[in-house]
Symmetry: D2
Subunit: 345 residues, 4 copies
């Protein structure tokens, strides 16, 4: 059994890692850390887990994690992982980092969206963990920069089309709708029940950091600078993310070309489901699962392509994809521990 540690286990992404990994057939949860709840049993923080998880939260001490774990998930705020990862790597403990710290190859780009990077030398070997796209690189990686939830939902539909040159790259608009869990467990008026319930609003309009992440990856794949417009919205539900993408196809590109390209690109990838013609994704259909559902529509009047992508922001958008990446790194079945079906309601 591979021994697995989670740093930051009591945030929502961390707890979701615990949920998934505690039922994983090939690994064993060996250590959980939590700054806020160190000393408490994990199931005192999340009573849902009583009877399933019997670990006590510990302070994050790199040496202790290295002693107990072969692979570690970091579910910590950005800026902290870059101080820790070099130590894990030196000890040959593989890392899946869910923060933004290792998502960028270019330290300058990271710096412009976040702050100066203090572990630049690791950026080159870090692999962007968009599982289906970078499968081969993930296989041999020792450090994964796990993608953001918004980028996952936008890049999975876009990358195959961009690589195939099917889109006018100046026309990309990404309008995302996210459940509230994406804002995490830290207290904030923006996650206060009565401020969110019965409310829809945009936030960080054209200024969200995930915009830089999407641009960087798309630019790499397009081999030219791509800048898209991104507006995230907050929706009164706990889990789920729906991303609606607008793009003008290149001259002569038809709806069937788009559909064919995506269908082929993901034919061997069980977690990507291309919706049949006329069907649209619904976050309810992917809730609790690692699925990513993609719908394709062409507005014939304006010849504008509409791609719609639904994921569970905590699963394919965070913990599920992280486990998928671990599976790929370990050379075990990609779906191990991730087979539970989404909830019908």
């Amino acid at each position: 059994m591979t021994r697995v540690g989670i740093a930051g286990a009591t945030g929502y992404a961390g707890a979701e890692l615990v949920r998934i990994l505690s039922g994983h057939p090939r690994v064993e949860l060996s250590i959980l850390t939590s700054r806020q709840f160190a000393g408490l049993k994990f199931d005192d923080v999340y009573p849902a887990m009583a009877g399933r998880v019997n670990l006590t939260c510990e302070e994050l001490v790199v040496e202790q994690v290295c002693d107990k774990a072969d692979i570690v998930f970091l579910a910590l705020p950005h800026q902290l992982p870059m101080t820790l990862v070099p130590k894990f790597i030196k000890r040959n403990v593989r890392v899946v980092d869910l923060s933004a710290d290792f998502r960028f190859n270019d330290a300058a780009v990271y710096a412009s969206a976040y702050q100066a990077h203090t572990a630049e030398d690791l950026l080159e070997s870090a692999v962007y963990g968009l599982s289906e796209i970078y499968f081969e690189a993930i296989r041999s990686a020792s450090l994964i920069g796990n993608p953001g939830c918004y980028p996952t939902s936008a890049l999975l539909p876009l990358i195959p089309l961009v690589k195939a040159g099917l889109l006018d790259l100046d026309t990309l608009i990404v309008d995302s709708k996210s459940g509230v869990s994406g804002a995490g467990r830290s207290l904030s008026l923006t996650s206060h029940f009565c401020e969110v319930n019965e409310s829809v609003k945009a936030y960080k309009v054209a200024s969200h950091r995930h915009n830089a992440e999407m641009d960087a990856i798309l630019s790499r794949e397009a081999k030219q600078a791509v800048q898209l417009t991104f507006v995230p919205h907050l929706i009164p539900m706990s889990r789920g993310m729906l991303t609606t993408i607008y793009a003008t196809p290149g001259r002569g590109v038809e709806a069937e070309d788009i559909r064919h390209c995506l269908t082929v690109a993901y034919s061997d990838h069980p977690f990507i489901r291309i919706c049949a013609q006329g069907r649209v994704p619904d976050t309810l259909h992917v809730k609790g699962s690692n699925y990513c559902d993609i719908g394709i529509e062409l507005d014939k009047r304006t010849h504008r392509l509409i791609l719609i992508c639904a994921i569970d922001n905590l699963v394919k958008g965070a913990a599920g994809q992280a486990v998928q990446n671990m599976n790929i790194m370990l050379g075990i079945e990609e779906t191990a521990g991730l087979i539970p079906m989404p909830y019908p309601l």
Copy 2:
């Protein structure tokens, strides 16, 4: 006191008319009709209204409505109003029709989106009831085609900019998020609690009838054919609509030009609130009220304009605007009966 009738009083738009008009200082509710609940007291259908409304629902008989009302609101499915309106007009009963039947000047355009029109001769005199834009025409109208909820939320931000020539008309994209009440009170799996709760999805992608309504009005104002891309989404909440509009400003047009244009256009209109720089609308801020909040952002990197508009789909998007139109027609204060403030939560 002007006597007011409501046909179709037990649907959600009808009930919202009852709610607003029962507290209106200048009119008196005199007759309510309901096919499904004829014979029942209105407050047996909506116990919320007990103690406030003491009318019994009647079958819709045009003569009886004409005898009892000076003005009638039609909250009926489209296709029915066009068979009734000629009779009301002949009897000099003014009509505010909340269906689509009298929103189009051109019967052919109506026919292509709905079905053949059987009261074409009234289309020319019917006034599109977007209150702030067509204020003068509404004043002397005897027949109002009350706007759809989605068009209201898209046209109020767009029309002043289109008239001023500030936008590239080929670039308009409208991404709307609506609460479930917009789907009405008729039973349907798409309004079934467990299918909507914790779910976000698009529907009628680039094929919603309101698209034709928006195009028709914008084309009229732009004095050229305009076609926009429109994608509505369903959100797990009862009331509220947020519309995010993407458009490329014309060459040399800056964010301040946009802001200035909208601020001036609506300076005398108490229900339109232009959000201060950096503020975004939230459906919670307009809930239960006739307000329309508009936010303005420019994505400087892509020079793409983002307009965000929040309304209560049942108030400014339906019953509230209908009452506002009635007020204008009656020559009384535009805000009469509509002053209650939105709920803070």
Copy 3:
């Protein structure tokens, strides 16, 4: 115009007072205080109010409030009002206190549920503001202890029956279900969206402070010690409270006796609506309004009475009842400013 001040205007009860009073025909909002937001315009804190309220939040300085207001509402945490009220009273400014500080006549009872009282001498003249029950005393009061939300929902159904001796006082059980706004605007994990959404739970089981309040008032009315069992529950919605009361009627007491007693007791009170036989209250029917709907059922098999009471916790359970009390104190129409009908949805 009576000038009205609100201390603690930016909490949920305070904001609801602002919402109601800003539309009140007989008073004028003259000063708003807020510790947290002093210096900010009120509508920057609650953008819903933009265009309706044009006051800036101030620090709470008693002298300044007294200069500007004839009557003041205190929407502050308990323990603070008892330090302020004596100063207001000395300046002849009437007070409606929404905290618990002046709900108890007996300082010892207050002390056992809260902490030592520092303004004991005012307790005797303070009137418990359960509007329909203590109407006469409120009329001439200068200090109102406005009831808690749970007590309002339990006492309105119970008091007439207790006074009439129709119930076995040893059998009273109160099971309440409250929306989340009752927990206020202060950040807390128990009001964090993802912890509340899709969740129902009891809290403070048989240990909530409102239990003492209910017992004290019922004991006074029954002229004997009454102790009931009270369990509050938190429900995933913003507004509304449903209280289900179980009690064994006295020997020979029938359902009709109960119904008759309540109907007579509240026949002159427009905000209390006794549901017709077979009808049950629904929080949706009172949402946003000052109504209190009461349903009556008898379980014939066990001869156990079930009373069900629905209120909006922020209106009849807090700000609405406070305004109703102000109206009574001012000798104006009881319903002034409170006529807006509840929302049909």
Copy 4:
């Protein structure tokens, strides 16, 4: 592999059976029937299941089900199963019936709550499938009457205490709060989103059929007639049920006696979790799982016991318990296919 069929697979309980059984390691889904959707692929009805379930819904023909399945789950409206079960039993196909038809041993009691029974001779051998309580009988049963959701949530806490004689049986009151999925997928105004959202209400007050089921089972265990008062409430969430039980303990019975009794009774049962002192159950902690969490509080002032029980109404309250019963019948591990942990949010 045991072959399993589901009749009524497209209702919510049926779909939940599909979700659980499709991931079950020891059985194989072999046939799904659906009157409404016969001929459609199951994942066209529930797109969530795409990629996981590849069966087409069929008409319910007993012979065909018997040919394909060794055990069949009936997720059908009551009254239909009693016409089908005799045929399955004759063909030696074991049955877990989720309707009420085989929950009662006494046809007269069934008849008084439902209608005349047409398969009376099977009632004696049918086993009431409250898994932890009737484990031994279930082991050898060929026909299970799977308990109702409300009875499951009330009987699991009550039965051990009733058998031990710790409660005054005249004092039992059951106040339940259920999510909307309990009302099923059939269209109804009571499940219409806008009628349920932001609403709490009681329904079928002291007249719900599950009352008879609880009384019958408790009477059997108590060896005397027991009648409790039962009031169900509808809560704006999809899944989950919280039941609050009020009871007076017998003379001299203390809180520790209650806690000890329940702890011992369920010590070998992994799905029952007794909350530690001071902890209360939350439906969020059991969401999606087969867990049943029980909290125990004593109101010392009134010496009244408060038991609180949380289950997922679709899992432990329906499909999960049905699968648990199947596991017991098949002699395999009780938890097989049911190990996924509840969601932390």
